[in-house]
Symmetry: C2
Subunit: 410 residues, 2 copies
């Protein structure tokens, strides 16, 4: 969707992998659209469905049920608005509406509320269209939980150089004109900022209500509690995607990790197990490492595992270093690479990394993810055979430099 | 040196990290230049030195001795030549001479003999200067031992599109004019190819003669046999760099891996152990994975661990797949990525990978190296949390696609 919103894809239809008809034909399943499941009768193994409010309900029996209800955009009460210029960005219909507004109206100034991945993706898309943007981060901290504050500060400073304003302030209310157009946003510090479009990227919530009503247990991270086969606490009901808690590959604890690859893999596991009918070996969902990235302002911003702040928040005795290195040898064209590396003090086990640079950040985070998955220490990372090719990678890769710095600190 | 040869560095002096004087001052050691060690008296712990042939020999006693004699360019007898237009590329003096020729003469056509890293580095440098190049690969196979033939073919085809001729033929002799200039090369198939410069990139040999004369044992891979502390078979003599056999991180067997990072790390280990005088814990050289890359014709060509051919040659029951994927999501600007993945059949253990693409190949090879070092299987690689960010990396990373294909084959 960020690419579509930037105006680089001619039609939203190109983002659609399957139409309902094609999906039904490809997998030989019945697809009901414009149909809501309003309740699950776990005793009689039936779901109650309706085609809309006020319409009559009917029942469909099931042998196996999969809940893939995903997550929804969460908007704080004070910011809920019916203005035609105020958007969330969760599904393709949201994206279509935003794109239509961008294509047909002149947006002098866009305000983005929220500093997570959705906010930064939207910022990048608007900025690529040449729209002046202001992003409000209530904590003054971009990608909080993923980036530590020094890496966030580096990104804020870089975006500032591009004329993108990142404000450390909380948007408390929206000023909408009688005709439904947005006029301005009002902040906790008393400022009023005029704008012609507002994107609310204020987080998501897993859609657990239907399952909760049927008695499914939630996990501590907010999704359905599932076992390694993705079976919920209720017989014959599996769950997958953004609506379940997975198991963290670093700590072994339940983790909410609503990432596309986890949705894909867990959907496959839930489907296989729901369909197997008790024969053969059940499919298992792997442990997951929370690893993601965003392309913003010409930078790759990537992270994997735990930031220092988030590690400390779950009681780990963690330590971190931040280093600056480069993408290639000093005599070759190269760009700065910033690496923050986090490890547990006594065990020296790696906990996570954050990498920011014009190139090579995502794949370096992937290298660290490999190490996180195998329970490596900072010494194992230092012992890595990083490839040296002067035009492509320096003799001392940025991750090697970071590992060395952390060894010295430990 | 490839960057210098391409004319992108103003002076070869910029490639010099330490002058002898600066090295002596920085580390407080005596540095003798223009001095050759002609023999080692291991009984009396002395080395015999001379300042040149015919000069008188003197002795220097040692408590600890480190052999860091490196490797030298190897030229087959039939190609040895005193022509001013025929070069090897091993040390900075070689590079200076080549650069001077390129800077002062018009080179209509350069012939490169040899298809290893040095040959490809030189090819890239000459090509960047706009010089027409022909590279002779006696096996028709680029980076043999590192790349399997299908990946080599892909590279040959790409270079052909750039007007670079890769010839499957062996250069047997050189035709040098009476004035010492090169006229042509003659090949096994009877062809005669005119040229104005020849680079002989026909391999290297470790400089073991001095140590062998003193009775040091060689390892099966051709370098000195050393223990994990880099002590040779002789008391008080350590060795490091291109002149020793390391231990392969994949097979546990002795491995010749003359790579810059191994030279750096082993130099540190040998130095620490030679200097420690029996107190404290000795430094250990890590196991190494053979991983390298070259930038040629706008491509990153990277490999790590064992190719299928090389794995089979050491008796492993190996299997491989080759896939084509892309560097980013299909709707974003992206480039093809070719991955070949090698694993052991029964254990499913990863043995190596080869990655070729305009971007992201080196770092993906580094991801596989991480897995090789931890003894991962192809299933562990498939379970990786590859980062998805549409502009930076597709939902299904090329390595994930390769792992999936290999799982199916196994």
């Amino acid at each position: 969707m960020p690419i579509y919103l930037a105006g680089e894809v001619s039609s939203a239809d190109k983002l659609v992998r399957f139409t309902p008809e094609k999906f039904a034909a490809t997998y030989n399943v019945e697809v009901l659209t414009h149909t809501e499941v309003v309740s699950i009768d776990t005793e009689r193994r039936k779901v109650r469905i309706t085609s809309g409010p006020g319409e009559k309900e009917t029942s469909i029996p099931y042998d196996a049920l999969i809940l893939a209800t995903g997550a929804r955009a969460h908007v704080p009460d004070g910011l809920k608005s019916a203005s035609k210029d105020v958007f969330v960005l969760r599904d393709l219909e949201d994206a279509r509406q935003i794109a239509q507004t961008l294509d047909t109206q002149t947006i002098h100034h866009a305000v983005i509320v929220g500093s997570g991945y959705v906010g930064l993706d939207a910022l990048e898309s608007f900025h690529r269209r040449g729209i002046r943007c202001t992003l409000f981060a209530s904590s003054g901290h971009l990608l909080k939980g993923a980036l530590d504050v020094d890496m966030s500060d580096l990104l804020v400073s870089h975006l500032g150089d591009l004329g993108i304003s990142i404000r450390n302030d909380r948007v408390q209310s929206l000023d909408v004109a009688p005709d439904g157009s947005i006029r301005s946003v009002h902040t906790a510090s008393g400022e009023q900022t005029g704008c012609s479009l507002v994107l609310l990227a204020t987080g998501t919530r897993p859609n657990t209500a239907l399952g909760e009503k049927a008695g499914l247990k939630l996990g501590p991270a907010g999704g359905f509690q599932v076992d390694t086969h993705l079976l919920t606490s209720m017989a014959s009901i599996w769950a997958c995607g953004d609506v379940v808690d997975f198991t963290d590959g670093v700590t072994g604890q339940p983790l909410h990790a609503p990432l596309a690859l986890n949705a894909f893999l867990s959907g496959r596991v839930a489907g296989q197990n729901a369909a197997r009918g008790g024969t053969g070996r059940p499919a298992r969902m792997k442990k997951v490492v929370r690893a993601a990235a965003v392309a913003v302002g010409g930078l790759e911003v990537a992270h994997t595992g735990w930031s220092l702040e988030s590690a400390i928040s779950i009681g780990l005795d963690a330590v971190a270093v931040t280093i600056q290195s480069r993408s290639a040898a000093s005599l070759a064209p190269n760009n700065p690479l910033h690496v923050r590396l986090v490890a547990e003090r006594t065990s020296r086990k790696l906990l996570g990394a954050q990498v920011i640079g014009k190139e090579g950040a995502v794949q370096r985070a992937n290298v660290v993810t490999s190490h996180l998955r195998s329970g490596s220490t900072v010494d194992d990372l230092y012992d890595m055979d990083f490839i040296y090719a002067p035009r492509l990678s320096p003799l001392h890769d940025a991750l090697l430099v970071a590992a060395r710095a952390l060894q010295k600190d430990l």
